[in-house]
Amino acid sequence: MVNKMFRWLKKNRSPEKLKNLPELIRNLQDSGDFLHYESKQQDSSFFIYYFKTLVHETELNDHILPYLVEKPLKTLEDIPERVPIPGVILSSDLKEICEKVMRGFVIIRLNANATECALIPSQVKKARAVTQPEVEFTVVGSKEAFVESLDTNLHLIRKRLPVHELKAYEVTVGKLTNTKVVVLYLDGIANVENVNTVKQRLEDINVDQIVDNSVIMQLITDDKNSPFPQLIDTERPDRATSVLCEGKVVVLSDGSPQALIGPTTLVEFFSAFEDYFVNWIVASSARLIRIFAILFSILVTPVYVATLTYHYELIPKDLLSTLVSSRQRIPLPPILEAIFLELSIELLREAGARLPTKVGQTIGIVGGIVIGTASVEAGLTSNVLLIIVALSALASFTTPVYRMSNTIRLTRFPFLLFAHLWGLLGVTICFCFLIAHLLKLKSLGRPFLEPLYPLRVQDLKDAIIRLPLKFQNKRPIHLQSEDTVRFKTVTEKEKNDFHE
C-alpha cells in the first residue's frame, strides 16, 4: 500500500526548488484563489491554507472548523483525533503536501514557521448528472451513461456488481494532469495475464497530458499503426459490467465518459449491445445484416469501378443496358466518378460532424439531395453509382462502434485504387492485404480475428450469430478466463413428442 502510494508520488512533478514548507506556501500565494488566514483563540492559534476553488467551503466551515476551535489545539496530533473525517494526515513531506493541496486538502499549521502540517480532505465534488447514452442509445435497456467523474462511473459499475471480486486497481498517469486511471476486473475470473498487461502498459505511459480515455486507448493499444481500433470504448455501464462478467478488463479514467474494454475481437465491433436485449433469432439476423452491410460498404464501389473499367463482359446483357444508358453521358472514367462521389459523401459527413446538431442535419439533407441530383443532371455521375455510393455510406453507419465505422469508410479508398489498377484482381489483392493485416493484429496480445482464426467453434456462439442465452454458459476461450464456466445449464428432460 505504502509502496503504491510512493510510486505515483515519484511520478509527480515535485517542487524541487522549494526547500521547506514556508517557501512552498509563499510560492502558492502567487495564485489569487489560494486563501490563508490565522484562526485566533484565547490561548492558541493556528493557520489555515487552501485553494478556495478546490475546497468545499461550506463543509469546511460547518464540519471541520468547529471541531478545531472547540478546545485549544496543543499539538498537530490532536487534529486527526478531533476531526471526524477519514483521511486526515500529518506530513512534512513537501511533495505530498503539494500534491494534496492541489487535490483539495486543507493545510493546517500551528505556527507560521512550522515545517509539519496537518492535511484535511475537503474536496469539492462537482460532476455532471448521469444522463442518457447518446452514442450507444438502445430502445430497451438501461438509460444510464458514464459521466466525467471517475467516482460516479465506479459507482455505476459497483452497484451492478456487488461482489468483492471486483477489483479497481488505481494508476496515476500523465506528468502534468496526474489523471487517475482505474483498471477494473473480476478477480478469479479475468485472466491474470490480461490484467497485468493492462497494468503494465498503463504504468509505462510516459506523457504529460491525458485528455481523455481515447488517448489512453491509443497509448496502450497493441498496433499503433493500424487504422483498426483494437479496444472497444463504451459509454454504457451495463455493457462494461457485462464484459467484466465475461472476464474482460475495463479501464476507466477520470474526466472521461468512456470505458475501454479489452481484449476484444473483430466480430465484437459488429455486435450492438442491444443484441442481448432481444430474442436470439432477431439478434442474429441483425448481426448478419450488419456484417453484410460492412462487406457491401467496403466492396460495392470498388466492384463497380472494376467491372465498368475492365470486365463489362461480366454483366448480363439486360443489366448492362441499364448501366450503359446511365453512363452514356458521363465524360469521366468510373474511378474519377466514384472518387468524386465518395469524397462528396465524406465532405458531407465531416461538415455534419463539425457543425452544431441542428445546422448539421440541414447540411446533410441539402448536401445529399441537392448535390446528388445536380451532379446526375449535370452528367458528372451516373445515377446508378449515386445509389451505390449512398447505400454504401448508409451501410457503413450500421457499425455499432463509432470508431469502426470511420475505419470501414477509410478502407474503401485503397480498394478503389486497386480496383482501378487491376479490376477484380486488384480488389482480391487488396482484400488479401486486409486479411493479412487483420491476422497480424492483436488485442492485449490475444488474436484479433478470433473465433474465425484461430477457429474456436465454441466461441462462435456469440460472434456472427448470437445463440440463446442457455448456450452462453461458458466464457469465451480467447479470454483464457481463470473460471471458464459462467453458469451450469440445468436441462430438463423433455419428452420428444407433440403436446397432447
Binding site: 475492365y310 470486365h311 463482359e313 461480366l314 454483366i315 448480363p316 443489366l319 487491376w422 479490376g423 477484380l424 484482381l425 480488389v427 482480391t428 489483392i429 482484400f431 488479401c432 492485404f433 486479411i435 493479412a436 493485416h437 491476422l439 497480424k440 480475428l449 482464426y453 484461430p454 477457429l455
Partner: protein, 364 residues
C-alpha cells in the same frame, strides 16, 4: 544437430495442418492438370488422379513416421542422417526446390491472368505487388502464414460449387469403358497429375511449429483427402464435359468450364474465378517461400527476414524471365518431375535409411 526450438506462443493448433496441406496443394495445378493426365490415361485419367492421391496418403504417413522419430525439421534430419556437408547440400537442394515451386506458381498465375484477363498486364509491377503482399504476410510469422492458408481455403471454397454448371452439359458415358488403358498409361497419368498434388513436403519444415505434432497427422491426411476428392471430381466433370481431342487443346480446362457458368447477375464467371484465385495462390507462395527462408535461416546464421528478401527478389526476376508459353510449360514439367521423385523416391529412401541407421546405431 538438434531440432529447432519454437516458443509455444508461435505454435499453431494441429488442425491447421489440414489447411496448410490442402492450400499448398491446390494452386495453379488444378487450373489445367487435366490435359497432362488425359494425354496418356484418356478417359481413365480420373483413376490416375485418384490413385496418385491415395498413394500420397502413404507418403504423408511416411513423412510423419520420419519426423516423429527425428523431432526436428528437414534441416536437422539431413544433418543427422548424412552429416554436415552432404546433409547441408541436400537441404540446399530442398530449398532450391521450394523456391522453384514459388517461381512456378507465381509465373503460371501471372500467365493465366495475362491470357484470361489482362493481356498487357505488367508482370514486373504485378509480381512486385504480389510479392510485397507475400512479404507482408511472412513478416507476421508462421501464425499469419497459417491464417492465410486457412482463409485461402475457406473463402474461395465457394468455387467448388461452380463445378455444378458443367454437370448439366456433361456426357457421363464418356467415362466408359473403365480400365481401357494399360497400367503403364495410368502410371504416366499419375506422373502428370502429381504436380497438382505437390507442395505438402513443406510439412518437413513447419512441423516444429505445430502444437502436439503427432496429433496433426490425421489432419494432414484429411487435408490431402480433400484435395484428392476435389481433383477427382474436377477430373470426372472435365472428362464428361470435353471431348478428348478438345481437351488436348485446352490448356486450362477448369477455367474453360467456368465460362459456361451463368447467373442472373453474372456471366463470364472466369473473371471472378481468376480474381478469387489470388487468394488461393497467396498461401501457396507464402508457405513455399516461408519454407525456403526458414531453411536458409536454419542452415546459416542469416535471419529469416534477411533470407526472405533475396528469395523474393529472385522469384520476381526469374519468374519474369520466363516469357514464352513453352518455357512456362517446361518450368512446370521440371518442377513436377523433381517433385515426383522427391515424393516417391526420396521420402521412402530417407525412411529406410533412417530405419537402418537407427538399427545400426543401436547395435553398434
Amino acid at each position: 544437430m538438434a531440432g529447432p526450438e519454437v516458443k509455444d506462443q508461435y505454435k499453431v493448433s494441429p488442425f491447421l495442418v489440414f489447411y496448410l496441406v490442402h492450400s499448398v496443394q491446390v494452386g495453379v495445378g488444378v487450373m489445367g492438370f487435366q490435359r497432362i493426365s488425359t494425354k496418356y490415361a484418356g478417359n481413365d485419367a480420373w483413376i490416375s488422379v485418384l490413385a496418385a492421391g491415395l498413394s500420397l496418403n502413404l507418403i504423408i504417413f511416411l513423412i510423419y513416421k520420419i519426423m516423429m522419430k527425428e523431432k526436428g525439421d528437414l534441416i536437422s534430419l539431413h544433418h543427422n542422417l548424412f552429416g554436415k556437408w552432404i546433409g547441408g547440400l541436400l537441404s540446399l537442394i530442398a530449398i532450391v526446390y521450394f523456391i522453384a515451386m514459388g517461381i512456378t506458381v507465381l509465373r503460371t498465375y501471372i500467365e493465366v491472368v495475362q491470357v484470361w484477363m489482362f493481356p498487357d498486364l505488367n508482370k514486373w509491377i504485378f509480381g512486385t505487388v504480389f510479392l510485397l503482399l507475400v512479404y507482408y504476410c511472412l513478416s507476421g510469422g508462421f501464425r499469419v502464414v497459417a491464417g492465410i492458408s486457412f482463409f485461402g481455403v475457406v473463402i474461395p471454397f465457394y468455387l467448388v460449387l461452380t463445378m455444378i454448371f458443367p454437370l448439366f452439359y456433361g456426357h457421363f458415358r464418356d467415362l466408359l469403358p473403365i480400365f481401357n488403358h494399360s497400367l503403364m498409361e495410368l502410371y504416366e497419368g499419375v506422373k502428370g497429375a502429381s504436380l497438382s498434388y505437390l507442395g505438402f513436403t513443406t510439412l518437413f519444415m513447419y512441423l516444429p511449429f505445430i502444437k502436439e505434432p503427432e496429433k496433426s497427422h490425421r489432419w494432414a491426411q484429411g487435408g490431402h483427402l480433400l484435395t484428392v476428392f476435389i481433383y477427382t471430381t474436377v477430373m470426372i466433370t472435365t472428362i464428361a464435359f470435353f471431348s478428348p481431342e478438345q481437351l488436348q487443346k485446352t490448356i486450362w480446362a477448369t477455367l474453360t468450364t467456368w465460362k459456361i457458368a451463368e447467373m442472373p447477375f453474372v456471366q463470364r464467371f472466369e473473371y471472378i474465378g481468376i480474381a478469387s484465385w489470388a487468394l488461393v495462390i497467396l498461401p501457396n507462395l507464402c508457405i513455399t517461400i516461408w519454407a525456403a527462408g526458414r531453411g536458409i535461416r536454419r542452415l546459416s546464421r542469416v535471419s529469416q527476414q534477411n533470407a526472405t528478401i533475396p528469395i523474393l527478389v529472385l522469384i520476381l526476376i526469374s519468374s519474369s524471365l520466363f516469357a514464352r508459353r513453352e518455357s512456362i510449360d517446361l518450368l512446370n514439367q521440371y518442377t513436377s518431375k523433381v517433385g515426383f521423385y522427391f515424393v516417391y523416391i526420396y521420402v521412402p529412401f530417407v525412411f529406410v535409411f533412417q530405419y537402418i541407421k537407427s538399427k545400426v546405431g543401436r547395435s553398434g
